[in-house]
């Protein structure tokens, strides 16, 4: 599913395990045989970080890894650039296994293929904004003039023109994270790792930053791995979402497929808070039928809230739905939209709802 516009390859994580402790390798067999997190901790004093992670991170898309604290999401993202060494497993990118790279190759990989944005910004307090953004380029040995030009360009893109000579402490949190984003983008890496990048920000600023990221991604097509504990953020950003619990991926797929078919009660309890009209698309609820007599025609990717608004404005109850190529696909009714947007009762059978996009679902 590589994006034709995006460079690079998918990141394939295969059978990844991480056990924290002095004799991690010795306990790997126990974990593979089914020993749980609790037992490993009480019996052997080792902490199970990740178990049997299999995840394809598609090139040129935003993949969100969601989980609560302690779920292992930060551990997982740190395996992609090997800030943490895996106990077992593979992280394949462009034909190479990051887990087995030599120190020199790993350094080169981090310098040219990846860039990272951190939850607490991790800006160098003794460097100006401009010097922070040039940091990644400087350690790669890019010339002073070249790196300054690149840094100024990206600072402008994130809306920080005129702040080049300030120190990070003089900026607000949102502005600091924009510096963090510019620093990562200046590296011109294919992979962008974002570890709870917006979690420390105020809700309004967080939404702002999400918009900036989505705007930039429209033209950059980077392979973005975004970590968050916030399902709304995951649904807004993620073209693919993986939900992590106790070091295990419990569900992966599109946001819509997760909202429509939560795999277990744990996920269902999250999903219940979601504004469904902002996640579910028209294509999901359209029924195959000949074109109806209605002035409104909308593409299948339209969100239910937007579709309902359009129908209300046109004072009609039905909409013709078209597929990606613009061909007629079916008809949807306002009543069905409203029913779908209202959160289901607990006794509702989630699986009875029409299928989402099966090509992206896990």
């Amino acid at each position: 599913m590589a994006d034709p516009q995006g460079p690079g390859s998918d990141i394939e994580i295969r059978s990844l395990y991480k056990i924290f402790g002095p004799q991690a390798a010795r306990h790997l067999a126990d974990v593979r045989a089914g020993m749980g997190k609790e037992e490993l901790n009480t019996r052997h004093g080792h902490v199970l970080g990740l178990q049997d992670i299999n995840l394809t991170i598609p090139a040129g898309r935003i993949t969100v890894v969601m989980g609560l604290s302690g779920s292992g999401k930060s551990t997982l993202i740190r395996h992609i650039n090997r800030l943490i060494d895996p106990t077992a497993g593979e992280i394949l990118y462009d034909g190479a296994d990051v887990a087995r790279m030599s120190p020199a190759d790993l350094l080169e990989f981090r310098r040219s293929k990846t860039a990272m944005v951190f939850q607490k910004f991790a800006l160098m307090p003794h460097r100006t904004v401009l010097e922070n953004v040039t940091y990644g380029l400087a350690i790669r040995g890019v010339g002073a003039r070249e790196r300054e030009r690149t840094a100024r360009h990206w600072l402008e893109r994130v809306g920080l023109e005129g702040f080049e000579e300030r120190y990070p402490n003089q900026l607000s949190g949102g502005m600091q994270q924009r510096v963090g984003l510019a620093r990562a983008l200046a590296n011109d890496a294919e992979i962008l790792l974002m570890d709870e990048a917006f979690s420390a920000l105020d809700p309004l600023i967080r939404t702002d930053m999400q918009s900036i990221l989505l705007d930039l991604q429209q033209e950059l097509h980077k392979t973005i791995v975004f970590i968050t504990h916030d399902l709304d953020e995951a649904l807004r950003l993620g073209e693919k979402i993986a939900i992590l619990r106790d070091g295990r991926i419990i569900q992966q797929g599109t946001g819509e497929s997760i909202v429509l078919r939560p795999k277990d009660d744990y996920i269902a309890s999250f999903v219940r808070q979601v504004r469904r009209g902002k996640v579910i698309t028209l294509g999901t609820i359209a029924r195959a039928a000949p074109p109806a007599d209605t002035p409104v025609t909308l593409p299948a990717g339209t969100l239910l809230e937007d579709a309902a608004r359009a129908l209300t404005l046109a004072e009609t109850g039905r909409v013709n739905v078209t597929d990606a190529a613009g061909r007629h696909m079916g008809v949807a009714t306002l009543a069905r939209m409203v029913a779908e947007m209202i959160e289901p009762q607990d006794d509702d059978e989630p699986a009875s709802i029409d299928d989402g996009d099966p090509s992206v679902a896990a």
């Binding site: 991790a122 940091y135 350690i139 300030r166």
Partner: protein
């Protein structure tokens, strides 16, 4: 049984112990004394060079250079003016020459302490095992009465300036090492992780992140080292180091109250000058931390 007197070792055994250790050390001093003297000779040359430079130049020039340096470091006209007045008073009261000797001594000792202390501090910050070894040695160096380690130094080098410098450096270097270690260990872990994530080598991490962020703490170490070197000046004069310490020593022996106080105050004046200048510099290094939100 006698419980009052401690069952100590016999006099003979005690004497034998002392004689053996002293004998061994004397043999060592005889055998390697000249080699060690040759190794440490450059310190003497450096000291002579600096002293000659300061004493043979016109006093106006020396005064201007010192005040200029203080002004550059402190960027404060108050501190600079204070330095100028203190030096003028010192010169007028006839202590110019001794003061210049003491300043050059302190400068050489500080340079040596920094040159040795920072690398040792860095190594200590990187290895907990090394830290475990070095820390008790530093404790020993700081608590052992300085007169005690003057003995072996004098046995090897005799009297003079080089043993004086060595004794002062031994006394003054611990804060330099400790504060370098502390400064580097205090660097936030997330900054190091960011440096790693962008592919820094460990040398780049040290040069671009750890040392710059540790610099204010390291400057506090330099300040401490200078203060301790000055405190050792009087003790060092006992083994032949010339400067402000000698008149003080003379004053103690002969009960010359005024002489003692005057030279003592001269030491204080230099100490305050060095202290204010280095502290102002250290504070300026932290300026980026004080800036509030914009």
């Amino acid at each position: 049984m006698d419980l009052i007197d401690f069952p100590e070792m016999s006099r003979g055994a005690s004497r034998a112990l002392r004689q053996t250790v002293d004998g061994a050390f004397r043999d060592f001093a005889r055998a390697y004394g000249e080699t060690l003297e040759a190794i440490f000779a450059p310190i003497g040359h450096l000291l002579t060079f600096l002293e000659t430079l300061m004493l043979d130049s016109p006093w106006t020039l020396v005064l201007a250079v010192i005040c200029g340096l203080v002004a550059v470091m402190s960027r404060s006209w108050k501190i600079t003016l204070g330095t100028a007045l203190a030096l003028l008073a010192i010169g007028y009261l006839g202590m110019w020459e001794d003061t210049m000797r003491t300043i050059s001594m302190v400068v050489v000792c500080t340079v040596l302490a920094v040159a040795i202390g920072i690398p040792v501090g860095i190594a200590m910050a990187r290895s907990d095992r090394l830290r475990g070894v070095v820390t008790p040695v530093l404790d020993l160096m700081q608590t052992m009465p300085s007169f005690v380690y003057l003995i072996p130094v004098v046995m090897i080098f005799g009297l003079g300036r080089v043993p004086g410098v060595i004794a002062v450096v031994v006394y003054a270097i611990p804060p330099m090492i400790r504060l370098t270690d502390l400064g580097i260990r205090q660097v936030r872990a997330d900054l190091l992780e960011a440096a790693d994530a962008f592919g820094s080598t460990s040398w780049q991490k040290l040069k671009d992140v750890q040392l710059p962020l540790a610099l204010p703490t390291i400057m506090a170490g330099v300040n401490q080292t200078i203060m301790m070197s000055l405190a050792m000046v009087v003790v060092a004069s006992m083994i032949g180091v010339r400067g402000l310490g000698q008149p003080v020593l003379q004053a103690i022996n002969n009960q010359y109250f005024t002489l003692g106080v005057m030279n003592g105050l001269a030491i204080v004046a230099i100490a305050i000058t060095f202290d204010r200048a280095t502290q102002a510099y250290g504070k300026r290094l932290q300026k980026h931390l004080e800036a509030g939100h914009g």
